[in-house]
Structure formats: C-alpha cells, structure tokens
Chain length 324, copies 2
C-alpha cells in the first residue's frame, strides 16, 4: 500500500498525542462539508438499485449523460488499467501516486514524467495520465491544450483525474468526453464527503460499460447513494462552498507567505510548498499537533485548508514559534 | 451484468405497480435488521482509517485474526480470480452466479458441476468454489468433509462462500483458515445491512495481503465501518436474530408446504422450490405485488422471509388465490 494523508491515527501514535488534540491539515478534503441529511433506514437495509436517482443527479451536475458512479475515484484508478492490453503509459510526476502504482500493478510499462516532458512526448505513449489541478502541485493544465493534445495524438487514452476541479466546473473536461478521453471526478474533496467513497467516471459508452462490468454490481453503499444524489443537486450550497474554498485557500496562501513559506503551487483545496527542509518542518509542526502532508520527491509540504478562525490562528501561532 | 434479486424498481415498471405496493421476497437478506445507531458526521467527512476498531470487532466476531474487511463479499468474488495464473476452476452449480462469472471474466477455465460431481473430481482442479449454505438450494456441506477435502487435494484453492452461515457460526470454516483455504463472510444478509456493502475474507496472511493490495485503499465507506463495527459486537441482538430467523424460516417452509409448494431446500434466510411451473408462479405472484426470485436452470423459485405477520398473511392470501 502507498502512503496517503489523513492517517491521523498513525500520527497520534507516532507523536504520542491523542487524536482529538490534532489539527489535521494532511488531506485536500474540504473542511467546509455539505450538511448531511437524515439517511432512510432502507438505504442501509436494501441492496442499492441503479434507478434510485443518483445517476440523474450526476448527469445534471456534470453536464453529461456518459457518467458512471464508482466507489471513489480510487476504484476507477484501480480498475481502468485492467481494461487495456500491456501498454506504454506516461504518468505526470509528481502526482497522486496511486495512478502510476495501479498501471504498474496491472503489468503496464509506466514512465513518470514532468508535465512539459510528458506533453512533448505524448505521441509515443498509448496512455497519458494527467491530474488537473494536479495533486500536490496545484498546476492546472489548460483545457484547450488538453483537447488539442487528444485530437493530435494517435488515439491514445487520455486519462484526466479532476478530483479537485469542482470549484471551477467550467474548466472541466467532463462534458467533452469522446473516444479515448476519460475523466475522473470525485465527490470526497469538494463536498467534504471523503468517507462516503463516491466518485464518477465520464467516458465514451463502451468504456463505461466495460468498467461497470469489471467493477461488478453494488459498488456504492446505499447510504452513500442517497447522500450524494442530494449533495449533487444542492446548487445553492455548491455556490457558497466555491466562495468559501476560494477565500480559505487565499487566506492560507497569505498566511504561509507571511511566515516565509510562500506556496510554490496550490489550488482551492490546498497549498503546496516545495522546500529542502520540508521533513524538518513536517516534524516540527507535528510535535505541535498540526498534521500536514510531507512529500519526499521532491521535498515538499502540502497544507490542507484550516476549517475556521481557530484553526487558522493555531497554524499561525505554530509557524510563529517555528520561525522564532 | 448478471441478474440478481432485489430489483424492485425494475419489477415496479414491468408490472406497473408502484414500489411501495410490493412485498419484496426476492432476496435472502434478513428483514429483521440490526437497529441502526446514529452515525457521527466525521465518518462521512474523513477518509476511513484502518485503525478505527472495525478490524478488532471482526476478529472477535469471526474468531480469527486473519480477516480482511471488503466492500461486500462481491468485491472479493471479483478480485480473487485476478490473484491466480490461468487455472482450472470448478464452481458448484447451481450457486450464486457471480462466482463462475468472475473466474471466467479473469480468463480462467471454469467448469460448473453439481456438488457431488465436483467433490468426486476435486483433485483435478486448481480451484474449487463452494457456497455453504448454498444459494439458492440451501445445501450446507459438512464442515469436516470440506476440511478433509482440502487436506486431501494437491493444495488447490478451496474458496468457500459462507454468506448465509451466521445463524450457525459453529459450522463456519472461518476460524480454520490455512494455506489454500479462503472463506467469504457477508454482513448484508444476517444483519440486514445489504446497503452497507460490507463483507470479510478470512485466509492465510499472504493471500490477505495480496487481496488488500489488489483492492486498494479505502474500500469501505466510513459510515459503513462505524455501523458494522458495532453490529459485529452486539452479541445480544445476534442471539435474538438467530432465533427470529430460525422461526421465520420454519414458518415460511410450513406456509409453502400448506400450499403444495414444499421447499426442495432452504436455510434460515430463504426457502427454495424447484418446480417446472416456476416462471408462471413467479409472474402470478408478481401480478399480486409479491416479488420472489425466479431461476431458470433449473426452474425454481426462492422465497425470502416475510418480515412480519402482515407479510406472512399477504403471501398466504396470494398463494390461496393461486391454488383456487
């Protein structure tokens, strides 16, 4: 298994500090979560059914009919590589590490390349894997450039993970899917529902059919289907969440900059600071009960958004101490 | 995708009767469901963590340390065939159809055999797949015979699906796992939590590690982990549920027998009636708003348990009309 953020239990043991004492900024999940509705008991008791309204809500939210619910984009990341014969795969680097891992595990030849190099050699690969905005760097490749890339290439698969794009839906490729173009969307980050394990894949119909067959029946929990269908339909909350995320992300970037930690990248869900002393900073913050995500290649920290004024003040205080 | 019970939405359309008008006996899920506790919002918001108590509860309930939570036994059924090189696989027939389907889909040579024939030729296969109690026939192969079979064979994989065994836990092979023996357990049927999508795999450590790696991180939803951990620990409810299921199943068998539908098999979760007019009976019951599961090879019906006196009376009345 690869390492991920959100492992508060492990940090609590490693730094001998109880879970509830931590400020967890180690993920890119929005702390401004969609308010949960009551879940009917039948959603727990019965087998989930496909015609429960989730698909309609998703088609409306994503603006395309060609969309498949999956148990988190992770489920699609794991299954898609099994739908191709052995291929030459380029994965942008750095990026969410499960992509390269899944393609390797399925027996493909995987090359990890910096974004510009990947784009320059695109035509020599069968599959291109990109993340936009990228996690952890925050780089968001232009939509038109990607569509041109897909039109130019000799019909490779272009797999675009847009788990963090919900604050700028007009930038998404989700409604542009065509043969060879696969877009992953996540519910966990924007709606703050990472525990629900829900995501969506947009692609051409034959690919969606093959993926559904590979994943088998009932991949999403019934309560998840109920909650997500309503979250996707709540346009008023979505508008307010976009504003909240933009403001909180700008505030976090300003705070880090004040402490001589100017982000080298980021998006509305996190800020990214590449710096050689990342590991020492990670440990210094952890001893103060603040968990961030540490990356080692390259050395960097990713800061998730503090949930409120108290959390911002705590981070501010800790960084003041560190620089003292 | 294969056909399954529980497709009430489709039946409602086919027979032009609203969902809420139906008595759904088309699954083997207990209608006597575990009473749901409140789910903390954090279970929805945060990424699930492995050290949240679910594994401890499962080890206690199943009586073995070698157990892995999965998103329904279906998730394991789909993933296990990918952990072996092309093999000769014998699957008991009739049985839950996803088994043979998953092994075929993964490129194995699959032979479907009646139970006794499968046992007689066990040593000629690399993998044996059995279901006990079997779904839909209810046949429950003796535990000692299975353990002997596993000891005798030239180390094949023996995969035993025990989704319906929770009423007789002393019969389970779950605490007997050793190299080559894999046991699947389900939470959905006994606890009436089919929507939760939770099951467990018991097997030797290396297999569990490979399976966990193949399934990837966060396969169970956070709310599911919270609910299931508590259900597995609720011994008082489990004892009462065993009594309820035994009584309801016996009552259903008696009712069917009174209507000249003596079950040819069954278990505490359903009754199974093999008969040439199964399809006509299925449709006659459906036009009366009673949904049962129809099988065509061989022609048979499976009746799930009515939830209460009203449901029993409704089935009784419908069968009286049919025989009139």
């Amino acid at each position: 298994m690869l390492e991920h953020g959100g492992r508060l239990g492990r940090a609590a043991r490693e730094f001998s500090m109880p879970r509830e004492a931590w400020l967890d900024l180690s993920t890119g999940i929005s702390p401004h979560a969609w308010p949960l509705p009551p879940v009917p008991a039948s959603a727990w008791h019965r087998l989930p059914e496909d015609d429960d309204g989730l698909l309609d809500a998703a088609r409306d939210y994503y603006g395309t009919d060609h969309v498949l619910p999956v148990a988190g984009s992770q489920a699609a990341i794991g299954a898609l590589p099994r739908l191709r014969p052995p291929s030459r795969v380029a994965v942008v680097d750095p990026a969410y590490a499960e992509h390269a891992h899944a393609w390797r595990q399925a027996g493909h030849e995987v090359v990890a390349l910096p974004l510009e190099e990947l784009l320059a050699h695109a035509s020599t690969f069968d599959v291109l894997v990109l993340v936009r905005p990228n996690n952890p760097t925050g780089v968001c490749l232009d939509r038109h450039r990607l569509l041109e890339l897909h039109a130019d290439a000799r019909r490779p698969w272009l797999l675009v993970d847009e788990a963090f794009i919900d604050t700028q839906p007009e930038q998404s490729l989700v409604s542009h899917v065509r043969e060879g173009l696969i877009v992953l969307r996540s519910v966990g980050k924007f709606f703050g529902l990472a525990g629900a394990r829900a995501g969506f894949v947009a692609a051409w119909p034959a690919l969606l059919e093959a993926l559904a067959e590979a994943l088998g029946p009932w991949t999403l929990a019934g309560p998840t289907r109920h909650v997500v269908a309503q979250a996707l339909a709540d346009r008023a909350w979505q508008a307010s969440a976009r504003t909240w995320l933009r403001d909180a992300s700008a505030r976090l970037a300003a705070l880090l900059t004040r402490h001589d930690l100017r982000p080298s990248g980021g998006c509305e869900f996190f800020q990214y600071c590449e710096r050689p002393d990342a590991e020492a900073l990670y440990r210094a913050l952890a001893t103060r009960g603040i968990l961030v995500r540490h990356f080692s290649a390259p050395q960097a920290l990713r800061f998730g958004l503090p949930a409120d004024d108290t959390a911002f003040a705590r981070l501010d205080r800790a960084l003041t101490e560190l620089r003292a």
